[in-house]
Protein backbone atom coordinates (compact mmCIF):
# COMPACT_ATOMS: atom_id res chain seq x y z
CA UNK A 1 0.00 0.00 0.00
CA UNK A 2 1.36 3.39 -0.89
CA UNK A 3 -0.23 5.89 1.40
CA UNK A 4 0.20 9.45 0.35
CA UNK A 5 1.80 11.58 3.04
CA UNK A 6 -0.56 14.16 4.47
CA UNK A 7 2.09 15.84 6.60
CA UNK A 8 0.77 15.52 10.09
CA UNK A 9 1.73 13.46 13.09
CA UNK A 10 -1.52 11.98 14.34
CA UNK A 11 -0.90 8.48 15.68
CA UNK A 12 -4.64 7.97 16.26
CA UNK A 13 -5.14 7.63 12.52
CA UNK A 14 -2.77 4.68 12.53
CA UNK A 15 -4.62 2.75 15.25
CA UNK A 16 -7.67 2.25 13.08
CA UNK A 17 -8.21 -0.03 10.11
CA UNK A 18 -9.89 1.46 7.12
CA UNK A 19 -12.46 -1.34 7.01
CA UNK A 20 -14.02 -3.39 9.74
CA UNK A 21 -13.42 -7.15 9.39
CA UNK A 22 -16.96 -7.81 10.62
CA UNK A 23 -18.42 -5.60 7.90
CA UNK A 24 -16.42 -7.53 5.36
CA UNK A 25 -17.54 -10.88 6.79
CA UNK A 26 -21.12 -9.68 6.48
CA UNK A 27 -20.51 -8.45 2.93
CA UNK A 28 -19.17 -11.89 2.05
CA UNK A 29 -22.23 -13.41 3.65
CA UNK A 30 -24.53 -11.29 1.50
CA UNK A 31 -22.84 -12.77 -1.58
CA UNK A 32 -23.45 -16.26 -0.19
CA UNK A 33 -27.10 -15.47 0.42
CA UNK A 34 -27.59 -14.01 -3.07
CA UNK A 35 -25.87 -16.98 -4.63
CA UNK A 36 -27.90 -19.59 -2.73
CA UNK A 37 -31.16 -17.78 -3.56
CA UNK A 38 -30.37 -17.92 -7.26
CA UNK A 39 -29.18 -21.50 -7.05
CA UNK A 40 -32.21 -22.67 -5.03
CA UNK A 41 -34.68 -21.25 -7.54
CA UNK A 42 -32.60 -22.61 -10.44
CA UNK A 43 -32.48 -26.09 -8.90
CA UNK A 44 -36.25 -26.28 -8.45
CA UNK A 45 -36.70 -25.42 -12.13
CA UNK A 46 -34.03 -27.98 -13.04
CA UNK A 47 -35.73 -30.70 -11.00
CA UNK A 48 -38.96 -29.97 -12.82
CA UNK A 49 -37.19 -30.59 -16.09
CA UNK A 50 -36.70 -27.01 -17.20
CA UNK A 51 -33.03 -26.88 -18.23
CA UNK A 52 -33.33 -23.79 -20.41
CA UNK A 53 -32.05 -21.14 -18.01
CA UNK A 54 -29.73 -23.33 -16.00
CA UNK A 55 -26.56 -22.23 -17.83
CA UNK A 56 -27.47 -18.69 -16.90
CA UNK A 57 -27.81 -19.77 -13.23
CA UNK A 58 -24.41 -21.48 -13.33
CA UNK A 59 -22.83 -18.33 -14.75
CA UNK A 60 -24.38 -16.11 -12.09
CA UNK A 61 -23.20 -18.46 -9.35
CA UNK A 62 -19.66 -18.44 -10.73
CA UNK A 63 -19.67 -14.66 -10.91
CA UNK A 64 -20.85 -14.31 -7.32
CA UNK A 65 -18.30 -16.88 -6.18
CA UNK A 66 -15.57 -14.82 -7.77
CA UNK A 67 -16.78 -11.57 -6.20
CA UNK A 68 -16.93 -13.20 -2.79
CA UNK A 69 -13.45 -14.58 -3.33
CA UNK A 70 -12.11 -11.05 -3.71
CA UNK A 71 -13.70 -10.02 -0.41
CA UNK A 72 -12.32 -13.11 1.29
CA UNK A 73 -8.81 -12.52 -0.02
CA UNK A 74 -8.88 -8.86 0.96
CA UNK A 75 -10.02 -9.80 4.45
CA UNK A 76 -7.39 -12.49 4.89
CA UNK A 77 -4.56 -10.39 3.57
CA UNK A 78 -5.32 -7.45 5.82
CA UNK A 79 -5.58 -9.13 9.19
CA UNK A 80 -1.93 -9.46 10.19
CA UNK A 81 -0.91 -10.54 13.66
CA UNK A 82 -0.64 -7.01 15.03
CA UNK A 83 -4.29 -6.27 14.39
CA UNK A 84 -6.39 -6.91 17.44
CA UNK A 85 -10.03 -7.92 16.96
CA UNK A 86 -12.52 -8.69 19.75
CA UNK A 87 -12.83 -12.38 18.84
CA UNK A 88 -10.34 -15.18 18.25
CA UNK A 89 -8.82 -14.45 14.87
CA UNK A 90 -8.33 -18.16 14.09
CA UNK A 91 -12.00 -18.92 14.66
CA UNK A 92 -12.97 -15.86 12.68
CA UNK A 93 -10.89 -17.10 9.76
CA UNK A 94 -12.44 -20.56 9.99
CA UNK A 95 -15.95 -19.09 9.90
CA UNK A 96 -14.94 -17.15 6.80
CA UNK A 97 -13.42 -20.24 5.25
CA UNK A 98 -16.55 -22.31 5.79
CA UNK A 99 -18.70 -19.50 4.48
CA UNK A 100 -16.56 -19.52 1.38
CA UNK A 101 -16.82 -23.30 1.11
CA UNK A 102 -20.59 -22.89 0.63
CA UNK A 103 -19.86 -20.89 -2.50
CA UNK A 104 -17.29 -23.37 -3.74
CA UNK A 105 -19.81 -26.18 -3.43
CA UNK A 106 -22.54 -24.11 -5.04
CA UNK A 107 -20.30 -23.39 -7.99
CA UNK A 108 -19.24 -27.01 -8.33
CA UNK A 109 -22.84 -28.18 -8.15
CA UNK A 110 -24.15 -25.75 -10.75
CA UNK A 111 -21.32 -26.52 -13.17
CA UNK A 112 -21.72 -30.28 -12.80
CA UNK A 113 -25.48 -30.17 -13.25
CA UNK A 114 -25.08 -28.04 -16.32
CA UNK A 115 -22.72 -30.59 -17.91
CA UNK A 116 -25.26 -33.41 -17.87
CA UNK A 117 -28.92 -32.61 -17.72
CA UNK A 118 -30.21 -35.53 -15.67
CA UNK A 119 -33.92 -36.06 -15.76
CA UNK A 120 -35.40 -36.35 -12.29
CA UNK A 121 -38.09 -39.09 -12.28
CA UNK A 122 -41.62 -37.86 -11.42
CA UNK A 123 -41.66 -39.92 -8.19
CA UNK A 124 -38.55 -38.19 -6.89
CA UNK A 125 -39.33 -34.60 -7.84
CA UNK A 126 -41.25 -33.62 -4.72
CA UNK A 127 -38.69 -34.99 -2.25
CA UNK A 128 -35.83 -33.35 -4.21
CA UNK A 129 -37.61 -29.99 -4.10
CA UNK A 130 -38.32 -30.32 -0.38
CA UNK A 131 -34.65 -31.07 0.19
CA UNK A 132 -33.38 -28.03 -1.66
CA UNK A 133 -35.84 -25.85 0.25
CA UNK A 134 -34.47 -27.15 3.55
CA UNK A 135 -30.92 -26.45 2.41
CA UNK A 136 -31.85 -22.88 1.48
CA UNK A 137 -33.52 -22.54 4.90
CA UNK A 138 -30.31 -23.65 6.59
CA UNK A 139 -28.32 -20.97 4.78
CA UNK A 140 -30.96 -18.36 5.61
CA UNK A 141 -30.78 -19.23 9.30
CA UNK A 142 -27.00 -19.03 9.08
CA UNK A 143 -27.32 -15.56 7.58
CA UNK A 144 -29.40 -14.44 10.55
CA UNK A 145 -26.78 -15.77 12.94
CA UNK A 146 -23.95 -14.02 11.10
CA UNK A 147 -25.82 -10.73 10.79
CA UNK A 148 -26.48 -10.68 14.53
CA UNK A 149 -22.73 -10.42 15.05
CA UNK A 150 -23.01 -6.68 14.35
CA UNK A 151 -25.19 -6.27 17.45
CA UNK A 152 -22.81 -8.47 19.42
CA UNK A 153 -19.88 -6.24 18.60
CA UNK A 154 -21.88 -3.07 19.22
CA UNK A 155 -22.77 -4.20 22.75
CA UNK A 156 -19.36 -5.76 23.32
CA UNK A 157 -20.81 -9.29 23.64
CA UNK A 158 -23.43 -8.87 26.35
CA UNK A 159 -25.38 -11.94 27.43
CA UNK A 160 -28.67 -10.99 25.81
CA UNK A 161 -27.15 -10.68 22.36
CA UNK A 162 -25.12 -13.86 22.80
CA UNK A 163 -28.29 -15.76 23.67
CA UNK A 164 -29.93 -14.37 20.58
CA UNK A 165 -27.10 -15.48 18.32
CA UNK A 166 -27.23 -18.89 19.96
CA UNK A 167 -30.93 -19.12 19.13
CA UNK A 168 -30.14 -18.53 15.47
CA UNK A 169 -27.41 -21.15 15.65
CA UNK A 170 -29.87 -23.73 17.03
CA UNK A 171 -32.11 -22.95 14.09
CA UNK A 172 -29.26 -23.72 11.70
CA UNK A 173 -28.70 -27.07 13.42
CA UNK A 174 -32.38 -27.87 13.22
CA UNK A 175 -32.62 -27.19 9.49
CA UNK A 176 -29.40 -29.01 8.79
CA UNK A 177 -30.69 -32.06 10.64
CA UNK A 178 -33.92 -31.97 8.65
CA UNK A 179 -31.98 -31.60 5.39
CA UNK A 180 -29.85 -34.60 6.33
CA UNK A 181 -32.91 -36.72 7.04
CA UNK A 182 -34.40 -35.62 3.74
CA UNK A 183 -31.21 -36.65 1.99
CA UNK A 184 -31.47 -40.21 3.35
CA UNK A 185 -35.07 -40.29 2.26
CA UNK A 186 -33.96 -39.23 -1.24
CA UNK A 187 -31.25 -41.84 -1.35
CA UNK A 188 -33.69 -44.53 -0.29
CA UNK A 189 -36.15 -43.54 -3.00
CA UNK A 190 -33.38 -43.54 -5.59
CA UNK A 191 -32.40 -47.11 -4.63
CA UNK A 192 -36.03 -48.15 -4.91
CA UNK A 193 -36.04 -47.03 -8.56
CA UNK A 194 -32.68 -48.72 -9.18
CA UNK A 195 -34.04 -51.25 -11.64
CA UNK A 196 -35.97 -48.71 -13.69
CA UNK A 197 -33.16 -46.19 -14.11
CA UNK A 198 -29.98 -46.23 -16.15
CA UNK A 199 -26.84 -46.71 -13.97
CA UNK A 200 -25.43 -43.36 -15.01
CA UNK A 201 -28.68 -41.67 -13.96
CA UNK A 202 -28.58 -43.38 -10.58
CA UNK A 203 -25.02 -42.28 -10.10
CA UNK A 204 -25.82 -38.70 -10.98
CA UNK A 205 -28.98 -38.57 -8.84
CA UNK A 206 -27.03 -39.81 -5.83
CA UNK A 207 -24.36 -37.25 -6.53
CA UNK A 208 -26.90 -34.43 -6.72
CA UNK A 209 -28.26 -35.42 -3.30
CA UNK A 210 -24.76 -35.30 -1.86
CA UNK A 211 -23.68 -32.08 -3.52
CA UNK A 212 -26.78 -30.16 -2.47
CA UNK A 213 -26.53 -31.48 1.07
CA UNK A 214 -22.88 -30.37 1.30
CA UNK A 215 -24.08 -26.78 1.22
CA UNK A 216 -26.13 -27.29 4.38
CA UNK A 217 -23.19 -29.03 6.04
CA UNK A 218 -20.92 -26.06 5.48
CA UNK A 219 -23.62 -23.64 6.65
CA UNK A 220 -23.70 -25.66 9.86
CA UNK A 221 -19.91 -25.42 10.13
CA UNK A 222 -20.12 -21.63 9.86
CA UNK A 223 -22.64 -21.64 12.70
CA UNK A 224 -20.39 -23.88 14.79
CA UNK A 225 -17.37 -21.61 14.36
CA UNK A 226 -19.59 -18.66 15.19
CA UNK A 227 -20.70 -20.41 18.35
CA UNK A 228 -17.16 -21.04 19.52
CA UNK A 229 -16.19 -17.48 18.50
CA UNK A 230 -18.73 -16.00 20.93
CA UNK A 231 -18.20 -18.56 23.69
CA UNK A 232 -17.15 -16.95 26.94
Amino acid sequence: MTDELNHFRAPVSKTFRRRSPFDQLFEHMCKVRECIDILGKGLIKYYKGNYKDFSEVANKVSKLEHEADLIKRNLRNHLPSFVFIPVDKGKFMWALREQDAILDHAENLSRMLDMRHTKIPKELQSVFIEHVKLVVNTVEAMEEAVSNIKDLVETSFVKREREQTKKFIYKVHEFEYKADEKKYEMTKSIYKLEKKLKPMDVYHLLKIADWVDDIADHAENVADWLRSMIAK
Binding site: A10, P11, S13, F16, R17, V158
Partner: protein, 411 residues
Protein backbone atom coordinates in the same frame (compact mmCIF):
# COMPACT_ATOMS: atom_id res chain seq x y z
CA UNK B 1 17.61 51.74 21.87
CA UNK B 2 15.78 48.50 22.50
CA UNK B 3 17.20 46.33 25.21
CA UNK B 4 18.80 43.31 23.47
CA UNK B 5 17.16 41.02 26.00
CA UNK B 6 13.76 42.11 24.76
CA UNK B 7 14.87 41.40 21.23
CA UNK B 8 15.77 37.90 22.32
CA UNK B 9 12.45 37.51 24.10
CA UNK B 10 10.74 38.62 20.91
CA UNK B 11 12.57 36.03 18.84
CA UNK B 12 11.94 33.33 21.44
CA UNK B 13 8.26 34.22 21.57
CA UNK B 14 8.04 33.90 17.81
CA UNK B 15 9.56 30.41 17.92
CA UNK B 16 7.30 29.54 20.84
CA UNK B 17 4.32 30.67 18.83
CA UNK B 18 5.42 28.41 15.99
CA UNK B 19 5.76 25.48 18.44
CA UNK B 20 2.30 26.23 19.83
CA UNK B 21 0.96 26.33 16.31
CA UNK B 22 2.48 22.94 15.57
CA UNK B 23 0.96 21.49 18.76
CA UNK B 24 -2.44 22.84 17.84
CA UNK B 25 -2.21 21.59 14.29
CA UNK B 26 -1.11 18.07 15.22
CA UNK B 27 -1.62 17.05 18.84
CA UNK B 28 -4.91 18.85 19.40
CA UNK B 29 -6.20 17.71 16.04
CA UNK B 30 -5.13 14.15 16.85
CA UNK B 31 -7.12 14.18 20.07
CA UNK B 32 -10.19 16.00 18.79
CA UNK B 33 -10.47 13.77 15.75
CA UNK B 34 -11.92 10.99 17.93
CA UNK B 35 -14.97 13.17 18.46
CA UNK B 36 -15.05 14.10 14.78
CA UNK B 37 -14.67 10.46 13.72
CA UNK B 38 -17.49 9.41 16.03
CA UNK B 39 -19.56 12.21 14.47
CA UNK B 40 -20.23 13.83 17.84
CA UNK B 41 -19.19 17.15 16.36
CA UNK B 42 -18.24 18.39 12.91
CA UNK B 43 -14.65 19.34 12.29
CA UNK B 44 -15.69 22.99 12.23
CA UNK B 45 -17.25 22.70 15.68
CA UNK B 46 -14.16 20.80 16.84
CA UNK B 47 -12.01 23.73 15.76
CA UNK B 48 -14.14 26.19 17.72
CA UNK B 49 -14.25 24.00 20.85
CA UNK B 50 -10.51 23.41 20.61
CA UNK B 51 -9.81 27.11 20.12
CA UNK B 52 -11.77 28.28 23.15
CA UNK B 53 -11.05 25.48 25.63
CA UNK B 54 -7.40 24.95 24.77
CA UNK B 55 -6.93 28.63 25.50
CA UNK B 56 -8.74 28.35 28.84
CA UNK B 57 -6.82 25.22 29.80
CA UNK B 58 -3.53 26.86 28.91
CA UNK B 59 -4.22 29.99 30.92
CA UNK B 60 -5.84 28.34 33.95
CA UNK B 61 -3.95 25.08 34.47
CA UNK B 62 -0.97 25.62 32.16
CA UNK B 63 1.44 27.18 34.71
CA UNK B 64 2.01 23.88 36.56
CA UNK B 65 3.73 22.11 33.69
CA UNK B 66 5.38 25.29 32.44
CA UNK B 67 7.13 25.64 35.83
CA UNK B 68 8.49 22.12 35.49
CA UNK B 69 9.89 22.74 32.03
CA UNK B 70 11.24 26.15 32.97
CA UNK B 71 13.08 25.31 36.13
CA UNK B 72 13.10 21.65 37.05
CA UNK B 73 14.68 19.86 34.10
CA UNK B 74 18.10 21.48 34.43
CA UNK B 75 19.69 22.84 37.58
CA UNK B 76 19.65 26.45 36.48
CA UNK B 77 21.85 27.65 39.36
CA UNK B 78 24.85 25.89 37.80
CA UNK B 79 24.67 27.81 34.56
CA UNK B 80 25.51 31.42 33.79
CA UNK B 81 22.55 33.64 32.88
CA UNK B 82 23.79 34.49 29.37
CA UNK B 83 24.39 30.86 28.52
CA UNK B 84 20.98 30.02 29.93
CA UNK B 85 19.32 32.43 27.53
CA UNK B 86 21.22 30.96 24.59
CA UNK B 87 20.39 27.48 25.83
CA UNK B 88 16.66 28.09 26.10
CA UNK B 89 16.64 29.55 22.60
CA UNK B 90 18.55 26.62 21.12
CA UNK B 91 16.34 24.10 22.92
CA UNK B 92 13.22 25.77 21.60
CA UNK B 93 14.65 25.95 18.08
CA UNK B 94 15.80 22.31 18.15
CA UNK B 95 12.41 21.11 19.34
CA UNK B 96 10.67 23.18 16.67
CA UNK B 97 12.91 21.78 13.92
CA UNK B 98 12.37 18.18 15.05
CA UNK B 99 8.62 18.74 15.32
CA UNK B 100 8.54 20.11 11.79
CA UNK B 101 10.66 17.31 10.38
CA UNK B 102 8.60 14.58 12.01
CA UNK B 103 5.36 16.19 10.90
CA UNK B 104 6.65 16.20 7.36
CA UNK B 105 7.54 12.50 7.60
CA UNK B 106 4.40 11.63 9.59
CA UNK B 107 6.25 10.21 12.57
CA UNK B 108 4.17 10.02 15.75
CA UNK B 109 6.61 11.98 17.92
CA UNK B 110 5.66 14.16 20.85
CA UNK B 111 6.60 17.81 21.20
CA UNK B 112 6.88 17.21 24.94
CA UNK B 113 9.62 14.66 24.43
CA UNK B 114 11.42 16.95 22.00
CA UNK B 115 11.51 19.92 24.32
CA UNK B 116 12.70 17.84 27.28
CA UNK B 117 15.37 16.20 25.13
CA UNK B 118 16.51 19.55 23.79
CA UNK B 119 16.75 21.09 27.27
CA UNK B 120 18.72 18.07 28.42
CA UNK B 121 21.13 18.42 25.51
CA UNK B 122 22.06 22.01 26.16
CA UNK B 123 22.20 21.38 29.92
CA UNK B 124 24.86 18.72 29.44
CA UNK B 125 27.03 21.00 27.30
CA UNK B 126 26.54 24.20 29.25
CA UNK B 127 26.90 22.88 32.78
CA UNK B 128 28.13 19.31 32.52
CA UNK B 129 26.31 16.06 33.16
CA UNK B 130 25.62 17.10 36.76
CA UNK B 131 23.59 20.14 35.77
CA UNK B 132 20.80 17.98 34.40
CA UNK B 133 18.23 17.05 36.99
CA UNK B 134 18.32 13.32 36.24
CA UNK B 135 15.85 12.47 38.98
CA UNK B 136 13.26 14.73 37.41
CA UNK B 137 14.05 13.44 33.91
CA UNK B 138 13.59 9.92 35.23
CA UNK B 139 10.18 10.65 36.69
CA UNK B 140 9.14 12.53 33.55
CA UNK B 141 10.27 9.62 31.37
CA UNK B 142 8.34 7.24 33.62
CA UNK B 143 5.26 9.40 33.14
CA UNK B 144 5.65 9.02 29.37
CA UNK B 145 5.25 5.28 29.71
CA UNK B 146 2.63 5.52 32.44
CA UNK B 147 0.36 8.10 30.80
CA UNK B 148 -0.65 5.92 27.81
CA UNK B 149 -1.07 3.00 30.22
CA UNK B 150 -3.31 5.05 32.50
CA UNK B 151 -5.25 6.39 29.51
CA UNK B 152 -5.66 2.78 28.44
CA UNK B 153 -6.84 1.58 31.86
CA UNK B 154 -9.32 4.43 32.43
CA UNK B 155 -10.80 4.11 28.93
CA UNK B 156 -11.03 0.33 29.42
CA UNK B 157 -12.88 0.75 32.71
CA UNK B 158 -15.23 3.47 31.45
CA UNK B 159 -16.14 1.34 28.47
CA UNK B 160 -16.68 -1.72 30.65
CA UNK B 161 -18.94 0.37 32.90
CA UNK B 162 -20.94 1.48 29.86
CA UNK B 163 -21.31 -2.14 28.75
CA UNK B 164 -22.25 -3.41 32.20
CA UNK B 165 -24.59 -0.62 33.22
CA UNK B 166 -26.13 0.18 29.84
CA UNK B 167 -25.79 -2.46 27.13
CA UNK B 168 -26.32 -5.42 29.45
CA UNK B 169 -29.49 -3.92 30.95
CA UNK B 170 -33.02 -4.76 29.90
CA UNK B 171 -33.59 -1.20 28.74
CA UNK B 172 -30.28 0.16 27.45
CA UNK B 173 -31.72 3.55 26.53
CA UNK B 174 -33.22 4.15 29.98
CA UNK B 175 -29.95 3.16 31.61
CA UNK B 176 -27.95 5.44 29.31
CA UNK B 177 -30.08 8.41 30.36
CA UNK B 178 -28.93 7.90 33.95
CA UNK B 179 -25.36 6.64 33.60
CA UNK B 180 -24.33 9.16 30.92
CA UNK B 181 -25.14 12.28 32.97
CA UNK B 182 -23.38 10.76 36.01
CA UNK B 183 -20.14 10.33 34.07
CA UNK B 184 -20.46 13.83 32.63
CA UNK B 185 -21.01 15.10 36.17
CA UNK B 186 -17.77 13.38 37.23
CA UNK B 187 -16.06 15.16 34.33
CA UNK B 188 -17.33 18.48 35.63
CA UNK B 189 -16.10 17.60 39.11
CA UNK B 190 -12.60 16.80 37.88
CA UNK B 191 -12.33 19.98 35.82
CA UNK B 192 -13.51 22.30 38.57
CA UNK B 193 -11.41 20.49 41.18
CA UNK B 194 -8.35 20.96 38.97
CA UNK B 195 -9.11 24.67 38.91
CA UNK B 196 -9.82 25.13 42.60
CA UNK B 197 -7.31 22.92 44.39
CA UNK B 198 -4.21 24.86 45.43
CA UNK B 199 -4.17 27.13 42.41
CA UNK B 200 -3.84 30.88 41.97
CA UNK B 201 -7.60 31.08 41.62
CA UNK B 202 -8.19 29.46 44.98
CA UNK B 203 -5.61 31.78 46.50
CA UNK B 204 -7.13 34.89 44.95
CA UNK B 205 -10.62 34.09 46.14
CA UNK B 206 -9.59 32.48 49.42
CA UNK B 207 -11.10 29.12 48.70
CA UNK B 208 -10.03 26.35 51.07
CA UNK B 209 -9.62 22.78 49.92
CA UNK B 210 -12.86 21.79 51.57
CA UNK B 211 -14.75 24.65 49.96
CA UNK B 212 -13.18 23.69 46.65
CA UNK B 213 -14.48 20.19 47.12
CA UNK B 214 -18.00 21.44 47.87
CA UNK B 215 -18.00 23.80 44.88
CA UNK B 216 -16.72 21.08 42.56
CA UNK B 217 -19.39 18.73 43.84
CA UNK B 218 -22.08 21.33 43.20
CA UNK B 219 -20.74 21.94 39.71
CA UNK B 220 -20.87 18.20 39.07
CA UNK B 221 -24.44 18.03 40.34
CA UNK B 222 -25.56 20.95 38.19
CA UNK B 223 -23.92 19.56 35.05
CA UNK B 224 -25.42 16.13 35.71
CA UNK B 225 -28.91 17.55 36.23
CA UNK B 226 -28.67 19.76 33.15
CA UNK B 227 -27.65 16.85 30.95
CA UNK B 228 -30.41 14.65 32.40
CA UNK B 229 -32.83 17.46 31.62
CA UNK B 230 -31.55 17.73 28.05
CA UNK B 231 -31.89 13.98 27.55
CA UNK B 232 -35.35 13.64 29.11
CA UNK B 233 -37.18 13.49 25.77
CA UNK B 234 -35.08 10.71 24.28
CA UNK B 235 -37.08 7.50 24.06
CA UNK B 236 -36.24 3.99 22.94
CA UNK B 237 -37.83 2.95 19.67
CA UNK B 238 -37.60 -0.73 20.52
CA UNK B 239 -36.09 -2.87 23.21
CA UNK B 240 -32.65 -3.25 21.70
CA UNK B 241 -32.29 0.28 20.50
CA UNK B 242 -28.51 0.62 20.49
CA UNK B 243 -28.76 3.39 17.96
CA UNK B 244 -30.53 5.64 20.47
CA UNK B 245 -27.91 4.78 23.11
CA UNK B 246 -25.25 5.96 20.69
CA UNK B 247 -27.28 9.08 20.01
CA UNK B 248 -27.37 9.89 23.71
CA UNK B 249 -23.62 9.49 23.87
CA UNK B 250 -23.22 11.63 20.80
CA UNK B 251 -24.67 14.50 22.83
CA UNK B 252 -22.59 13.64 25.88
CA UNK B 253 -19.45 13.43 23.80
CA UNK B 254 -19.67 17.14 23.10
CA UNK B 255 -18.93 17.53 26.80
CA UNK B 256 -15.97 15.16 26.80
CA UNK B 257 -14.57 16.87 23.69
CA UNK B 258 -14.43 20.08 25.66
CA UNK B 259 -12.75 18.14 28.45
CA UNK B 260 -10.10 16.85 26.03
CA UNK B 261 -9.40 20.29 24.60
CA UNK B 262 -9.14 21.83 28.05
CA UNK B 263 -6.71 19.20 29.34
CA UNK B 264 -4.51 19.41 26.28
CA UNK B 265 -4.26 23.15 26.62
CA UNK B 266 -3.26 22.66 30.26
CA UNK B 267 -0.44 20.25 29.44
CA UNK B 268 0.87 21.21 26.03
CA UNK B 269 1.13 24.97 26.30
CA UNK B 270 4.22 24.51 28.48
CA UNK B 271 6.15 22.82 25.67
CA UNK B 272 6.01 26.04 23.73
CA UNK B 273 6.29 28.71 26.40
CA UNK B 274 8.30 27.02 29.17
CA UNK B 275 11.71 28.05 27.83
CA UNK B 276 10.51 31.57 27.00
CA UNK B 277 9.31 31.95 30.58
CA UNK B 278 12.90 31.22 31.67
CA UNK B 279 14.32 33.85 29.34
CA UNK B 280 11.81 36.45 30.53
CA UNK B 281 12.80 35.75 34.12
CA UNK B 282 16.41 36.49 33.40
CA UNK B 283 15.57 39.48 31.24
CA UNK B 284 13.41 41.11 33.86
CA UNK B 285 15.26 40.28 37.04
CA UNK B 286 18.76 39.88 35.70
CA UNK B 287 18.79 36.42 37.19
CA UNK B 288 16.85 33.21 37.16
CA UNK B 289 14.21 32.82 39.85
CA UNK B 290 12.56 29.46 39.98
CA UNK B 291 9.61 30.84 41.90
CA UNK B 292 8.71 33.63 39.48
CA UNK B 293 5.23 33.17 38.10
CA UNK B 294 4.69 32.81 34.42
CA UNK B 295 3.35 36.04 32.91
CA UNK B 296 -0.25 35.89 31.77
CA UNK B 297 0.50 37.34 28.34
CA UNK B 298 2.89 34.46 27.66
CA UNK B 299 0.30 31.82 28.60
CA UNK B 300 -2.19 33.65 26.44
CA UNK B 301 0.29 33.73 23.57
CA UNK B 302 0.80 29.98 23.86
CA UNK B 303 -2.91 29.30 24.20
CA UNK B 304 -3.65 31.49 21.23
CA UNK B 305 -0.89 29.80 19.21
CA UNK B 306 -2.36 26.35 19.88
CA UNK B 307 -5.85 27.57 19.07
CA UNK B 308 -4.53 29.15 15.88
CA UNK B 309 -2.83 25.89 14.92
CA UNK B 310 -6.07 23.97 15.43
CA UNK B 311 -7.87 26.60 13.41
CA UNK B 312 -5.58 26.50 10.39
CA UNK B 313 -3.75 23.26 9.68
CA UNK B 314 -5.50 21.31 12.45
CA UNK B 315 -8.82 21.66 10.75
CA UNK B 316 -7.53 19.73 7.76
CA UNK B 317 -5.91 17.10 10.00
CA UNK B 318 -9.13 16.60 11.97
CA UNK B 319 -11.07 16.15 8.77
CA UNK B 320 -8.61 13.64 7.30
CA UNK B 321 -8.16 11.64 10.48
CA UNK B 322 -11.87 11.86 11.33
CA UNK B 323 -12.71 10.27 8.00
CA UNK B 324 -10.31 7.43 8.70
CA UNK B 325 -11.73 6.52 12.08
CA UNK B 326 -15.44 6.43 11.34
CA UNK B 327 -15.63 2.95 12.90
CA UNK B 328 -15.46 4.69 16.27
CA UNK B 329 -18.99 4.94 17.66
CA UNK B 330 -20.03 7.45 20.29
CA UNK B 331 -19.89 5.17 23.35
CA UNK B 332 -16.33 4.26 22.34
CA UNK B 333 -15.38 7.84 21.53
CA UNK B 334 -16.77 8.92 24.88
CA UNK B 335 -14.63 6.35 26.71
CA UNK B 336 -11.52 7.34 24.77
CA UNK B 337 -12.09 11.04 25.45
CA UNK B 338 -12.74 10.51 29.12
CA UNK B 339 -9.75 8.21 29.64
CA UNK B 340 -7.30 10.42 27.80
CA UNK B 341 -8.49 13.75 29.15
CA UNK B 342 -8.55 12.57 32.76
CA UNK B 343 -5.00 11.26 32.50
CA UNK B 344 -3.76 14.43 30.86
CA UNK B 345 -5.48 16.69 33.36
CA UNK B 346 -4.14 14.79 36.37
CA UNK B 347 -0.65 14.82 34.88
CA UNK B 348 -0.95 18.56 34.27
CA UNK B 349 -1.86 19.18 37.88
CA UNK B 350 1.15 17.12 38.96
CA UNK B 351 3.32 19.25 36.68
CA UNK B 352 4.18 16.27 34.51
CA UNK B 353 4.83 17.12 30.87
CA UNK B 354 3.35 14.13 29.04
CA UNK B 355 2.45 13.41 25.46
CA UNK B 356 -1.24 13.98 24.89
CA UNK B 357 -1.20 12.22 21.51
CA UNK B 358 0.26 9.05 22.94
CA UNK B 359 -2.23 9.10 25.81
CA UNK B 360 -5.12 9.28 23.34
CA UNK B 361 -3.68 6.29 21.46
CA UNK B 362 -3.39 4.43 24.78
CA UNK B 363 -7.07 5.16 25.47
CA UNK B 364 -8.12 3.89 22.03
CA UNK B 365 -6.21 0.67 22.62
CA UNK B 366 -7.89 0.39 26.05
CA UNK B 367 -11.34 0.42 24.44
CA UNK B 368 -10.08 -2.11 21.90
CA UNK B 369 -8.87 -4.43 24.64
CA UNK B 370 -12.28 -4.12 26.30
CA UNK B 371 -13.62 -5.71 23.08
CA UNK B 372 -15.15 -2.43 22.05
CA UNK B 373 -13.54 -1.91 18.65
CA UNK B 374 -13.82 -4.04 15.56
CA UNK B 375 -10.11 -3.84 14.82
CA UNK B 376 -7.18 -2.06 16.46
CA UNK B 377 -3.84 -1.84 14.73
CA UNK B 378 -1.34 -2.50 17.51
CA UNK B 379 1.65 -1.83 15.27
CA UNK B 380 1.14 1.81 16.24
CA UNK B 381 2.68 0.91 19.63
CA UNK B 382 5.92 -0.03 17.92
CA UNK B 383 5.94 3.24 15.99
CA UNK B 384 5.43 5.19 19.20
CA UNK B 385 8.19 3.34 21.06
CA UNK B 386 10.58 3.97 18.17
CA UNK B 387 9.68 7.66 18.30
CA UNK B 388 10.39 7.66 22.06
CA UNK B 389 13.83 6.20 21.51
CA UNK B 390 14.64 8.55 18.64
CA UNK B 391 13.28 11.81 19.97
CA UNK B 392 15.47 12.31 23.04
CA UNK B 393 18.90 11.86 21.36
CA UNK B 394 17.93 13.70 18.19
CA UNK B 395 16.43 16.66 19.99
CA UNK B 396 19.39 16.75 22.40
CA UNK B 397 21.89 16.56 19.53
CA UNK B 398 20.24 19.32 17.54
CA UNK B 399 19.97 21.49 20.60
CA UNK B 400 23.70 20.99 21.36
CA UNK B 401 24.65 21.89 17.79
CA UNK B 402 22.55 25.05 17.78
CA UNK B 403 23.82 26.00 21.22
CA UNK B 404 27.49 25.66 20.18
CA UNK B 405 26.82 27.61 17.01
CA UNK B 406 25.10 30.44 18.87
CA UNK B 407 27.84 30.55 21.48
CA UNK B 408 30.53 30.98 18.85
CA UNK B 409 28.54 33.72 17.13
CA UNK B 410 27.74 35.61 20.31
CA UNK B 411 30.82 34.85 22.30
Amino acid sequence: MVDPVWLIIGVASAIAFYMAWSIGANDVANSMSTAVGAKAITHKQAVIIAGVLVFLGAVLVGPHVAQTIKSEIINVEDIESNLLILGFISALLAAAIWATLSTWREMPISTTHSIIGALMGFGIIAGGIGSVNWLKIGSVAASWVLSPVFGCIIAFLVFKIIVRLIFAKEEPVGAAKIVGPIIIGITGFLVSASLLFKTSISKDYNISDFQGLIISFLVALIIGIISMFLLRKTKAKREEDYFTVERIFRKLQVGTSCYVAFSIGANDVANAIGPVAGIIDIGQNGMFTAEATIPFWLLALGGFGIAFGALTWGRRVMKTVGERITSLTNTRGFSVDFGAATTVLVASRLGMPISTSHTVVGAVIGVGLARGLEAVDLSVIKKIVVSWLLTLPIAAGTSIAIFLLLRTIVG
